[in-house]
Structure formats: structure tokens, C-alpha cells
Symmetry: C2
Subunit: 210 residues, 2 copies
DNA sequence: AAGCCTGTGTAACTTAAGTTACTGTCTGTG
DNA sequence: CACAGACAGTAACTTAAGTTACACAGGCTT
């Protein structure tokens, strides 16, 4: 575990902190699709991502979904961070986008490390900063962009996260993530294909250039 | 200044911290409409609200606006918090919703206090938690609600913040906040009036029951 | 009082997005 | 192989929201 930690977090945390993390943290490997956190659950550990990616979603009362952002190597979930002090409840759902490895740290350590290690403070505040900004970007795209633009951004981001130019999703799944309907997504995808930007296939989409 | 601090923050900060804040902080009174922060500006102090309210907005490239949330007594701007470590740039605009008093604390103190005072850590993490959740709520309403619902929520929140059942705004101003058009807002307001929920007047709206 | 500006009301139209419904096609399973 | 179920294409329609255009009223200035 120490090696994994050093590789992903060695450049930000000092050795003493790395050792502390290794001591109390538990290594976890989860498969694609694994639900790490759901809305309404209590949060008792914070995740440090080692490899893979996690998809963070929001859901409303009618169980309409919406993709917020992805977490990657070196990221943590800021939602968790806020909860270390009071025992708060998750407002989001987190699902492994691919096979993912992470280290779970009991939140009791949070306060102690925040006082003790400057690098930990930096990390925590940085995480917040990134997460807030990503949330703002998501909000921008919903508030200011039309669905066709949102779809293009979605495909780009998905390709970036998965590191390949093939999107392994059905139109229905994309519709859920963007909180739209399958027919609308099919329609817009067709347009993108006619513009020569993508190739449509059953169960997958090949990105040519967006 | 000590008295103002004690009144608004005495129940969360210990005396030693209150004294430190009073030492380095500067008291500031700003009139309604005063622009405290704009997009792209560098952040060099963090605000602690004593009285009044601040409206936090987002703007895109085409200078379309969108209201994010309000800050009130006891709140601080989490956007600022993230910037204490690196010198980051504001992603938002902050405008005084009414005459407002606040204490500006130089961000150099941030890191020191975070290490030193548990109550400060609690406050900072709490702020993040609230801000993230408000951002999520704003996002929810944009993603999941229709404009009529958003308008009702807007009127309610505005009345709550200003502590009166009269909204002193033109339809155009409301349209800007909700990132919509004047005609659409007039139309929906008219419907609300016909339902007996509000009374429309020139330059103001009286809320009956929403 | 005349003129002007701002704010509001309303009609008519356009457009993006959502909805319903039906087709065809691919694929895995019995 | 046949069939069921999941997936995708498409047409026709509805609806919320945005747009354009114009009328009119209140309040201010000259």
C-alpha cells in the first residue's frame, strides 16, 4: 500500500503523513459499476483514489439522475470532507466508472491531520477548490448550453476519463447521465454522425473528432 | 468591532480567536449594490458577514448571468477559502443585496488559524459544506424544475433574505437572475397573480402566499 | 401639458426538447 | 433455428421557453 500511496500522493504528502495513512487506511479494490456511496447514507470514511475513476451523480425526488463529475487518481470526495466534523449525510451517489483502487481513511483522522500537516491542509483545500469549480462548470453547461453542446462535452469527457475514443454506452444510459430522454439523445447523436464527428454502433460510439 | 464579532461569531469562535480576528481584520460597511468581487479578480481577503446579505452570481462568456445563492450573517465565501493557499482567481461575482457590514480578514492568517484553532477548522469545513449544498440545490432547480417552480423559489428566497413580503425588483431584473427573458417572467408572474399568490405593481411585487 | 423613458401586458411566432408510438435490427438463449 | 428482449431510427405531435413586435400606462422633466 505504501508504494501505491507514494506513487499517487508522494509528491504532495510528506513521508510521515504517508506512513500514517498507510497505518490507518484500508486498501480497497472495486469493480466497474460498484456503488461506493448513495444518497442518504452516512459517511464514515474518506476515499483517496489510487487508480480508476468514480462517477459522481445527483438524483432528485423523482429519481431523475444527473452526472456531476468524475473523480480520478489523486482526487478525493469533497462531500466526504465536509462530513468529518458533524456526522452528515451524503447528498450524492458515487459509482465506479471502471475497475478502481482506493484507500479508505477513517474520518476521525481528518481533524488531527488538518491541525498537524500543512500538506494535508493544502490537499483538502485544493480538493474543495477543484470540486467547487467542477460543480460550477457542470452548472454552467446546464444553465447556458443547449443539449447538443452538453452532449459533445459529455462524450469528450467520457473519452478522456476512459482513455479511449470508444464510448461503451447505450443512448439510454447517456440520456440518464444528461437528464434527457433517449429519443432526444439518439436524434442529436445522429446529427453528430452526419457531421462526420462520430460513428454510431450498437452499444458503442466511436469518436472521430469533436 | 469586538462586539460585532462576538454577537455574530461568539458562539462558534473562542475568545482568543475572536481577539486575533479583531486585531488583523478590517471592518467594512458597503451599500446596497456594491460589487465586492468580480470574476477574474484576485482574492486577497476573506469576508466574515456581520449583517446584511450578499448575492453570489455566475456569468458565462456571453455575459449571461445566473444567481447562485445568498450569503448572510455568520457566513463566509467558500470561494475565497479555497484561494488562501494558492493565489487563485475568483470564479464568481459578489454584490451586496442590501446595506451590509463585514469584516475582511487577510488570507495569510487562514493557514495559521486552521492549524491552531479547532473552532476555525469547524467553521471553515462547515462553510464549505453549506456552500456545496446550496450549489447543489441551485443545480437541482435548474436541472429538474421548470421555470414556474424556479420563479416561485426565487421569490420565496428573496423575501426571506430581505425579511419582507415585497420584492423590489423589475421583471427584467428577475429575468437576469434566473437567466431567462423578461417576457417569460412577466407571463409566469401574471399566472401567479391570477392564482392569487402575488400582487403585481410597477417596480415591486407583493407576495400574498406562495 | 407635452414629451419621454421605463416598466408591464399581450399576441404571434420560432425553436429546443420531451413524448408517444411504431419499426426494424441485432444478439444471446433456449 | 426461433424467439424474446434490448437497442436504435424515425415520424408526428406537445409543450416550455425564448423571441419579436407593439400597445399602453405611470411618473418624471422641461
Amino acid at each position: 500500500m505504501i508504494e501505491a500511496l507514494k506513487e499517487s500522493y508522494g509528491h504532495i504528502f510528506e513521508d510521515a503523513l504517508i506512513n500514517e495513512i498507510a497505518e490507518v487506511g484500508s486498501f480497497k479494490e472495486v469493480p466497474e459499476g460498484y456503488k461506493l456511496m448513495d444518497i442518504g447514507q452516512y459517511i464514515k470514511a474518506m476515499p483517496l483514489l489510487i487508480s480508476g475513476a468514480i462517477k459522481v451523480m445527483r438524483e432528485d425526488k423523482d429519481s431523475d439522475e444527473l452526472l456531476l463529475y468524475y473523480l480520478e487518481k489523486g482526487d478525493t470526495c469533497s462531500m466526504t470532507l465536509t462530513c468529518c466534523m458533524g456526522d452528515a449525510i451524503s447528498e450524492i451517489r458515487a459509482i465506479a466508472e471502471m475497475d478502481t483502487t482506493l484507500i479508505m481513511v477513517p474520518i476521525q483522522k481528518m481533524d488531527e491531520w488538518t491541525a498537524k500537516y500543512k500538506s494535508w491542509r493544502n490537499f483538502v483545500f485544493d480538493s474543495y477548490h477543484h470540486r467547487l469549480n467542477e460543480l460550477l462548470q457542470t452548472l454552467d453547461s446546464i444553465a447556458f448550453d443547449k443539449m447538443d453542446m452538453r452532449l459533445v462535452s459529455y462524450l469528450k469527457e467520457k473519452a478522456r476519463i476512459n482513455k479511449e475514443d470508444i464510448i461503451h454506452n447505450t443512448h439510454q444510459e447517456i440520456a440518464y447521465d444528461l437528464h434527457s430522454s433517449r429519443v432526444v439523445i439518439s436524434r442529436l447523436l445522429k446529427k453528430l454522425e452526419q457531421m462526420g464527428k462520430i460513428e454510431l454502433h450498437r452499444n458503442y460510439i466511436k469518436i472521430l473528432e469533436l
